[in-house]
């Protein structure tokens, strides 16, 4: 396939020209968490397939998820899952063209950030 004219178009977003503020950070975190969750998903699926196959396999995967690196990935995935869920709800709200003014959307941004930490903490506490 030859390089077409469209290949020369600039790629978005133009991160270097914007000042970082809450809306930009909460927006890019939605994308980062959503994509990074694949790590936790693969870890869960490997654990699931180990449970389904044999005791030996399960012990290996249990050791993996119990290690400090495994625990770190799980904790990160749990926070990412809550963050992405709350950020997703924010998008569903915005799709109705409401709460888009600066003050309300800033409040919503903080609600997503704080809410994700609170829900992560509550999950660890109760489960």
């Amino acid at each position: 396939m030859s390089k077409s004219k469209s290949d020369q178009r600039p790629l978005s977003p133009h991160l270097s020209v914007y000042k970082w503020q809450l809306h930009a950070i909460t927006s890019i975190l939605t994308r980062i968490t959503g994509n990074a969750l694949i790590v936790g998903v693969i870890l869960f699926i490997l654990w699931l397939i180990a449970a389904a196959t044999s005791e030996a396999n399960f012990l290996i995967m249990n050791a993996v998820i119990s290690s400090w690196l495994g625990q770190l990935v799980l904790l990160g995935s749990l926070w990412a899952l809550w963050y992405h869920t709350l950020a997703g709800i924010r998008h569903l709200i915005w799709d109705h063209a409401v709460w888009l003014d600066i003050n309300t959307s800033r409040l919503l941004g903080w609600a997503v950030v704080l809410g994700s930490f609170v829900l992560t903490f509550l999950t660890i506490l109760f489960l």
């Binding site: 790629l11 959503g34 994509n35 998903v41 699926i45 998820i65 119990s66």
Partner: protein, 114 residues
Amino acid sequence: MMAFDIIKTGTSHFKAMKISSMALVALVPIFIITIGPIFGEQRVVVLAKLEQPIYALIVAVTFTVGLLHFKSGVQVLIEDYVHGVMNKVWIIFTIGLSYLLIGVTLFALIKILV
């Protein structure tokens, strides 16, 4: 390459993201509350839980919808940052990975059930 060209598919892509995200708003908390506690438990505990169809179903539906949502979301990421041939290579890879993971999840759950 027509089938892979990202043209005239914007509306259906938006709908797929919107509908799957609405489903996941309910599925994610249900998954965390019901399946979360068995993560890190002994194998007998894990199997006893997942042998119950309702919990197997929660994992199956959450992961199927979640990975389809992932597939569409990553596609937008790739469209934003990668152009040209690699754009299509990465999108096809993502679609393949998503379907593979859905398949493996369902296989593991069926193996536990039977």
